[in-house]
Subunit: 544 residues, 3 copies
């Protein structure tokens, strides 16, 4: 007899547990109760109670389980032996949600690829100096659309020595689709292959969990090793890459059983469950309900109402996913350690403190030896608490605005646009009295201002590094160098956050100002410590 699986419904931040999930979400509302057709799903529900709770009364209620699951007959005949196959491909969803699918995969030719951040007109002109010798100095590009998120990650020079290249050469750069239709592995079956010059060996399985939904059933919660999990944090990254064929799927944000808005990224669920409050309401809680599958092997977080801030925060947050070190001792932190799948859910001003507390840094700076944290796209954090956030605006309203579909019907664009290029749709719905030109001017002004501050922060970090090297050459005391190095660690985080972030400060101009100003002040203080010490050393030398 079948072992009955229970849906364990965890409770977020102390909210009362609710086992039944009636009309869980606005997205799932309406639709007269579908007639329980003879499609056999009642049989499925006997074991999969948690699925029933999601599916029945939802817009997807009437869909047969066979729509998304293959090899069902074999499974029904011997459930333990024969696992069904779950179809994860976005193309399945596209059978009904065509406009969303097509907008997701449409290439925006206005945005070119491989635009290196470390150039004078890039987002981080001085990164080769400020991030040395970290992997991102090998190639670090401004981002393109979601359809390219896996491909661009695999093809970048810092990833696995450049072994993954376009099948069609540079003509492949505009091609989205299945990863392995577009890319090839130059090392496969080629014993002569060596990493290309000036590449790094970066890449790890946790990082990939933000780029794809392909491993959703093969990955244990938080990526721990488990016999039931094909992949874990410790898996070989090349093997995981080879098994990754799709950019992040519909199911990352939409529950396929019941269409509820949801999140699936393990560490975000974990942090919110533990009380992270970036997206909490006035009561300090979100409405997220955590549902556990297979005795906690896998969890999802389901919302009553769409909150795209959490959906996007599955990836657009600062997180640690690579190997690192512990402060002071420099002891290595490997993939067996949970800190290699960690989302701080912390604002920039407190971030270094957080990393010091969990005792993790990414790399030492080449010149100063500062223990630096490498930051990642913290768009969710920068947005949290901003003017727009306080006004109740969510990510999708600006980045996935309603557009008119082919049939004339409005739909949520899933291309994830840059609002600056779509002001009519992204802004003027709320700012009804303003013009596109006015809004663009305001956006550009914010960006001008923030970029100005970023350039200043970089200049002063550079001054810190150069003066450190000069002071070291002069034989200035280790105490002085230690002080300067600590300030480097502080100034670095307060700056890099903003070049890792993709809005050039627009998500939160005042926080950008505060953080970058503090970075500059800290670097200047370090420069003063160093130049003062050098002035003393000069006088001492002159006396000899």
């Amino acid at each position: 007899m079948l072992k009955k699986r229970m849906a364990l419904v965890a409770v977020v931040a102390g909210a009362a547990a609710v086992l039944t999930i009636p009309a869980l979400t606005t997205a799932a509302k309406a639709k007269p109760a579908a007639k329980t057709a003879n499609d056999g799903r009642a049989k499925c529900y006997e074991c999969h109670e948690e699925v029933k709770a999601l599916k029945e009364n939802s817009k997807h209620a009437a869909l047969s389980c066979k729509v998304c699951h293959d090899k069902m007959d074999a499974h029904m005949s011997d459930p333990e032996k024969n696992k069904p196959v779950t179809i994860i491909d976005q193309a399945l969803c596209a059978k009904c949600h065509k406009e969303q699918f097509e907008s997701f995969f449409k290439t925006d030719y206005e945005v070119s690829a491989r635009k290196e951040k470390g150039t004078p007109t890039g987002r981080s002109p001085m990164q080769d100096k400020l991030l040395a010798p970290y992997g991102f100095t090998y190639e670090h590009n401004e981002t393109r659309g979601h359809a390219f998120m896996v491909i661009d990650q695999f093809v970048v020079d810092r990833f696995q020595g450049g072994r993954f290249q376009f099948k069609d050469g540079w003509q492949g750069i505009t091609k989205s689709g299945k990863t392995w239709d577009v890319l090839t592995d130059k090392a496969e079956g080629n014993k002569e292959w060596k990493p290309m010059s000036q590449t790094a060996m970066a890449g790890n399985p946790t990082c990939i969990q933000c780029k794809t939904s392909d491993h959703i059933l093969k990955w244990k919660f938080l990526g721990d090793k488990d016999p039931k999990a094909k992949w874990s944090r410790e898996s070989n990254i090349v093997d995981v890459a080879k098994d990754t064929n799709n950019a992040v799927g519909c199911i990352h944000c939409h529950d396929p059983h019941g269409t509820q808005p949801r999140i699936v990224r393990d560490e975000l669920i974990n942090q919110i469950d533990k009380g992270a409050s970036l997206f909490a309401g006035k009561d300090g809680k979100t409405d997220l309900k955590v549902i556990s599958f297979r005795d906690g092997f896998r969890k999802i977080g389901v919302m009553q109402k769409t909150d795209s801030r959490m959906m996007c925060a599955q990836c657009h947050v600062e997180y640690a996913c690579g190997k690192g070190y512990e402060f002071g001792s420099g002891k290595g932190v490997g993939f067996d350690d949970k800190r290699t799948n960690h989302m701080p859910q912390t604002q920039v001003m407190q971030l270094l403190e957080h990393y010091r507390k969990i005792n993790f840094y990414d790399f030492k700076h080449e010149v100063t030896g500062a223990q630096l944290v490498k930051l990642q796209h913290p768009e969710a954090e920068t947005y949290a608490g901003s003017v727009h956030d306080k006004a109740g605006v969510q990510c999708h309203q600006c980045h996935m605005p309603k557009m008119k579909g082919k049939g004339g019907k409005m739909f949520s664009s899933h291309g994830v646009v840059r609002p600056k290029n779509h002001i009519q749709e992204s802004c003027l719905g709320c700012h009804t009295k303003d013009s596109v030109e006015k809004k663009r001017n305001e956006m550009e002004s914010v960006i001008n201002y923030t970029r100005g501050k970023m350039r200043k922060a970089e200049y002063w970090l550079g001054q810190l590094i150069d003066n450190y090297a000069a002071a070291q050459r002069m034989g200035v005391s280790p105490t002085v160098l230690d002080q300067a190095r600590t300030k480097h660690e502080e100034a670095h985080v307060l700056w890099e956050w903003w070049t890792a972030e993709n809005s050039d400060g627009f998500h939160n101009p005042s926080l950008a100002r505060e953080s970058l100003g503090a970075s500059i002040a800290t670097s200047k203080a370090a420069v003063k410590i160093l130049t003062d010490a050098m002035a003393v050393a000069r006088k001492d030398e002159a006396k000899k």
Copy 2:
């Protein structure tokens, strides 16, 4: 009985004094003598003879004094006790001059705000190094239209610790109008307020005299302290700011009584009166007539014919308005000193000599200790003697071209345009055989060339500074350092002039070339002095 006020007509550069001002200007010509209506102005003229001279026979002759002056009845009843109120607001002029008014305040959305000069694509990419530690390194933006001149001045991070901010946050950035409708004072009534991080406390009353006409009757000639003057050079800048509600008014350039073209900025009148010759004709003189009010309390300079070079030179010149120091001794120069309201009226090649003569510099460079002059928008100087100037072209022909108004009638645009964006109107009136594309190409080529030279001058100034620091660390002799420092002072002025100026060399490409070339040569000479001395020091060290 009323004390009769005499208009003192000063004489410019030795021209014969003319007390009567018949048909003073082309702008005031024509119009059949207005019938001296029963509007009571005859009564006004009894005391205000200088006003009569300007007003009668002018286009404004028939306007009653009450049009621009309030509380006249009270004034007439007791003139000494009750002062009339003079309406300075541009909106009053707009009752007749609507197109001019509207063009002045129309926001050009093509030009975004807060575009920091100290960025790779800005006008002065290396300013944080070259201007350290001066206030302009905190925020130094490319300019916007005249309508924003007060607002942008108050809101910039280097002004009074960032206490003035937009009421509407970043949405305020596109809003022109009354200063205090747009801005708010964060420090007012807030004892907790502290200057924002990475701001400066810059700002002074003299500087404001170029941004507004609001203080025209409250400011004594040259800003000296006087019981009759509400404001002086020594006033508290925040108080002055709070009393500043309008961008520069019509009356800065147009005499309201008689429509004569005029200037009112005190130090320009003073310098031309003393013989400054930038705008002089072949005879070494301008046609400016200086009229004094209230026994020299206030002066205006009236022209026979419009010369917009002088009108614009009221602000678009190099001037000193902040506190400074004396060369060598480093003795402070305070606002009580007339050198804090000074226009050199001197070309770039002679400028440092001029400042050495009057013994004034703005700040010491952080690294070299060079005594540096901070330059300001010398568009009038760069234009003087240029090809266009020699051909008789004046500022307004390119920057305020005639445009077609709503009624189809041509009017002088008062938006003060960038000619590059208005080539048809700004250039092709004279260059009748050329195309917009051709002229744009030529402009861009001049700008390309000048920017190339600016970047070179900056590179070599940077080399000078870096080599100075290295030489100092090596213990190179003070004599060598002194030589290099003096060259830094020279090379700096010859460079910074062009980044302070807003035409990227187009006003005078050959002067830009000469000046920037000399800056580069001077910096290179300093670098050679330093590297030669370091080579000697190396050999001396090796011998030990």
Copy 3:
């Protein structure tokens, strides 16, 4: 009696000599044998057999010799005493080839002049540091159209002290045409003239042979001195410049006698003749036939089929044409030496080796003393072996695409376009299924990527130079400095090639990647050598 001149037909790379040249080229095909008109050319052929071979049966067969040669009657009456005059001006060809002529001289206003490479947005932002003190640091611009190639060369600040300037000032910048209608010599008849500040005295006669066809009959093969040659490598450059009135002519690529595709640039003929294989087919040979005139005084290379790769390679290759030095000894190499008219015809990865073998470098770096080669526009080399080259695409297909002429007939545009601005014509003829937007996106992506690598290579060269100076100041051993200096020489060539080249890597992205990667690796290795040595020096000092 006339001395009969024989056409000497040299053989390229071992191909069999063919004296007769029947239907030499596709361009010369067709046309029924022109009736041998009574135009007297039969008489000409009696002496000029090589001309007959080219002309008869060609499209130009029926043209009388007098069409292109003046003073023929005098020549016929006394051939030795009276030389005919050959008309070289493109305007003569334009009588029939009007569209080609007009497209050549049409100014592309989209491309502005004097765009300095050494600026943050230029192609070589750090050149002032990396090329110091070479002449190109005085002014080094991105290129404009062919019509300006002579003018832009003469007017640049590094050429002869800036003595050549536009007659019309900056308005001259858009004027193409005869050199001396556009430019004037400021030094001519002016004894007071001195070189302008911050200019160099660069320029040499060989370089000019790529800019003009004017000297084709006055220049001996390879520029050797000869009584019969008006100009040689050793001629005074100003005299040669004054005699240069036209940009490169039709006859550089098209044989005027027979319309055969050809090359005339001596050193390219010489190198291909000696076996250079950049443009060879599978058999290791080109189809070039070298024809010698006047006993080897002059040679041309005639093709059976158009190969624009060779035509363009007459100029768009790396070549040495200025004075230089020998490695190690630093012995000067003067214009009497054939190495001052040299085309390596060698790929970038082998280039330094080549120059070491022929023992020639251009200048020593100001800081490190590295013996550096200054590179020139190697577009032909970068293209050779590229994906497009292997596919059989030639230069003209992308850069001189067919366009519709005024009469509706298609013609080869001779404006030499930037394909990025003409994707429809330049790309979609082959890439028939692609869109302009897609191809532009791919181009931009290649350029983004290559520029990213260039910026990195520059950063690391800069680090090398700065660390060298610091190490030198610390007294690090000459052995260490020598090692770093040698690496500087290597890293420099591998970088500068790509900033000298005009495609931003598009000609050959993978070669650009390989070369720039190797440059970065080499610079990093040098930095490590220097910083390691400084660390040791610090410890030694601390022990004292």
